[in-house]
């Protein structure tokens, strides 16, 4: 008998196509998994950024993964009922981002203040003596920063 834990394990192999080291579980976009008594599986997802073109791709990958593991009756729903925020990225995910060369978003409590948007630790030399160059980057979830210590440009996964 399948359990939600089994499904969550299957989804560990589905990665963010733009950040291939990050699984959807670690990204925090899987908001619910249910297995009904008759075996029908419901997976709920929520987008990181509403305009992210990779979300449809990720949904299709989730469906493919379920099929590969022999799940026949399922639905994958995308909704805003539990909206994503960057605190939902797991510790494992943050480590993976850093190793990938992307500064992970600073965790925050309560309201996201401007200081946190502009704060970033350089993934190359770990200095926090950095400045935000632009809140936009090569994908919707990244901003661009400059490290005043090692004089390198780097990208950050935006806090949201």
């Amino acid at each position: 008998m399948l359990t939600p834990e089994h499904i969550r394990d299957f989804l560990d192999e589905v990665k963010d196509p733009e950040i291939p080291v990050l699984s959807l579980n670690d990204l925090g976009v899987i908001t619910g998994i249910e297995v009904a008594e008759d075996g029908f599986v419901t997976v709920r997802m929520t987008p990181t950024f509403a305009g992210c073109p990779a979300m449809e791709y990720m949904r299709a990958e989730v469906e493919q993964s379920l099929k590969r593991h022999g799940v026949q009756a399922f639905t994958v729903q995308m909704s805003f009922s539990e909206p994503w925020n960057s605190n939902k990225i797991s510790e494992k995910g943050r480590k993976a981002l850093k190793e990938f060369g992307l500064a992970p978003p600073q965790p925050y409590q309560g309201i996201l203040v401007l200081d946190i948007l502009e704060y970033a630790e350089c993934p190359n030399c770990h200095s926090t003596n950095t400045e935000m160059r632009t809140p936009f980057g090569p994908t919707l979830c990244r901003s661009m920063h400059f490290c005043l210590n090692c004089r390198q440009l780097f990208e950050q996964f935006k806090p949201l």
Partner: protein
């Protein structure tokens, strides 16, 4: 009926996002510097995503599917403010429009995130976080260029004076204004406009730009009920060109 009032509100929000998203995308490849090219392209993508969220909600309320609604209407069926349909012009105009529009939009989302309508509140809560980056971008650039050179200051000042009556049109009162306020859907256009004036004034005070006397301006209304400039229909024709040739095409 409250449902019609809500649909009216959602259409104007979604249409604003769609049309400004399209205008922003016209900067792709033409930005005055790489960072601005990327910024306007990113905001274009965000705005299309935001319009989709609201068109999807409208679809759940019985309206057409998002692609059909976005691509198959004519200009007189659009509820966007005229501000967002104006051509991108020079960079100074696009920056000022972005500044005026996004400072209004974040207030709208903040108000909607407190809405008694849960579906709307959830979407607004999510999207206001994204719009913060748009506001951060606009305010930073306006502060920098609004205090930089004589040319940058006078260009921004001219664009501000041109755009302001159109920006006041964002807050054109709806036919259902009181009904929406009474039902706790959002705080209403007049309240938003007052808050917006405070926000933009606070930024402009840090620059050499001068906010014209609002009481002397005639707001450009009409957009919310289908009256548009000659610039909207050509935009729609271009946006829907592929869809109209082959509605099943994927691109």
């Amino acid at each position: 009926m409250l449902e019609n009032a809500i649909k009216d509100l959602l259409y104007k929000i979604a249409d604003d996002q769609l049309i400004l998203g399209h205008r922003n995308s016209e900067w792709t490849g033409f930005g005055p510097m790489l960072e601005e090219d990327i910024a306007f392209s990113s905001m274009a993508q965000d705005k299309l995503g935001h319009s989709l969220a609201f068109y999807t909600l409208l679809h759940q309320m019985g309206e057409g599917d998002p692609d059909t609604v976005a691509f198959m209407r004519n200009a007189d069926q659009f509820h966007n403010s005229q501000l967002v349909e104006l051509p991108i012009g020079e960079y100074d105009f696009s920056l000022i429009r972005h500044f005026l529009y996004d400072n209004a939009e974040i207030l709208r989302f903040e108000s909607l995130s407190q809405s008694t309508n849960e579906e709307i509140a959830k979407i607004a809560t999510k999207l206001k976080g994204e719009v913060r980056y748009h506001v951060l971008h606009a305010n930073t650039l306006v502060k920098q260029l609004g205090s930089a050179t004589q040319e940058s200051i006078s260009r921004l000042q001219q664009s501000l004076e041109y755009a302001l009556p159109f920006a006041l049109g964002i807050f054109e009162p709806s036919k259902h204004e009181q009904e929406l306020i009474d039902a706790g859907i959002y705080s209403g256009e007049a309240a938003l406009q007052n808050q917006w004036l405070e926000r933009i004034s606070a930024v402009l005070e840090k620059t050499h730009l001068k906010l014209p006397e609002i009481a002397n301006l005639q707001p450009v209304y009409g957009g919310r009920y289908g009256q548009h400039t000659e610039h909207l229909q050509p935009l729609l024709d271009e946006m829907a060109e592929v869809f109209k040739i082959d509605p099943t095409a994927e691109w």
